[in-house]
Symmetry: C2
Subunit: 256 residues, 2 copies
């Protein structure tokens, strides 16, 4: 017990000294997940502009047209057909969370991570505090991965929970890939989702999507500590007129 | 009823057209109210640096040393003695919300606003949406105003609810002054307080503090629409190690 406390104190101390705050190191977010939940799917920022605020992150596209993976400054789209597309810089996004990735902590895991819950536990054990947001990047060979995407919607837009009821899911085995995502503190539950939100992209660009399940034999986990959230809200009328209900239970169903 | 709907639609339309988004028009916030609630009172940003992000706003000072009113780019401090002080630029703040004030909507009220609740109602009737934050400035002759301040704390810091149990309150009659504050959407409850948070400063700089009650005979209400929140989190260890409980009921007690 005493050893555990000493370990925790050392981690906190090292965290405080080694990973000093970089002022530009913030999560840049467009709109709120609550607005997306209510069907506010109109794109409000171009990918070209988004790249000024980050090279790594996740999101979706105008009309809820699939899952976004931003990796090394390149924007990829996993559409409802399960295929991966490079995205034109003129395409817009209604919701995204990105940052410039710099590795503050790296862990080489050489044991099996049999499921998503184990992966979450492994990452949680690395975080020096639950009070700041993190950008997460995990690479490695994947024994099994399950993802989903969402089909492009037409107006009048249905609520997100309606769309995800019929979401196409995809599975792959023995594939190399990268998981990109965020972990956000509980107090950010109103503007996004507390906890994890990860997307997957295979190395050969044949497979990807919103992560539902994973089995990895080994992995490199990289964590970027961020010290803030730059939230940009749409000035468009659909965002203005929507009643944001903040149904957390519904959100859990949508994201799992 | 139909007339009301038409009025609302016109307000929304005018709101959308006239008050187009200014990209720099965001609330800049240091830390979270939840952290302040738990006794994280160490200043983390100088007033000099804060002025780069706004000329108008509210907050507190290192060690919870009184109430901040930032007005026209000048930082004032109402200490626990009830007096108003000009603040040196080297002083630091642990929690603040500021922006550069530009008036998007102005209302000249020529009727009595007998209490805080009436003032809140009047402002709410002016807002085009409940989904963005607002910076608020109200000037006018005040028949009656009641404020509070908080005394500077020493370490180990007590929780905010303990401090405010013995908060000094102040009253003034027939005084000119300015109310400065923010209104934040419900979904920002985790990072700050949803709804209103106003501070008062008298024109003659003799009186001020966190607003508890008001009676105004007439007033000029100015509202600045903002399209985002730039949240900057402390990298100091007390912020890292504090468990943020998010007790909304307790927060209500503290702020009233």
């Amino acid at each position: 017990m005493r050893r555990n406390i000493v370990c925790i104190l050392i981690v906190l101390l090292v965290g405080g000294i080694l990973f000093a705050q970089n002022k530009g190191d913030v999560i840049y977010q467009i709109s709120t997940l609550g607005a997306l939940q209510e069907g506010v799917y109109d794109g409000v920022e171009t990918i070209e502009n988004l790249l000024k605020y980050g090279d790594t992150g996740i999101g979706t596209f105008d009309g809820l047209d699939g899952e976004m993976i931003l990796l090394n400054g390149v924007c990829y789209q996993v559409k409802a057909d399960g295929k991966v597309y490079r995205v034109a810089k003129t395409v817009t996004t209604p919701f995204t969370a990105v940052s410039f990735f710099d590795t503050d902590q790296r862990l080489q895991v050489n044991e099996r991570i049999p499921n998503l819950s184990s992966l979450y536990d492994k990452i949680m054990s690395m975080l020096p505090t639950k009070n700041i947001p993190y950008l997460i990047k995990i690479t490695g060979p994947v024994s099994y991965v399950k993802t989903r995407s969402v089909p492009k919607q037409q107006k009048p837009y249905p609520r997100l929970v309606e769309v995800t009821k019929n979401q196409p899911t995809f599975e792959a085995n023995n594939i190399e890939g990268t998981l990109i995502g965020v972990w956000l503190p509980d107090y950010m539950a109103g503007v996004n989702m507390a906890g994890f939100h990860l997307h997957f992209l295979s190395k050969d660009l044949s497979f990807g999507g919103h992560l539902l399940e994973i089995d990895m034999s080994k992995a490199t986990i990289e964590i970027d500590y961020t010290y803030g959230l730059q939230l940009t809200l749409p000035s468009k009328s659909d965002f203005f007129t929507t009643v944001l209900k903040q149904d957390k239970e519904e959100l859990k169903k949508i994201e799992q």
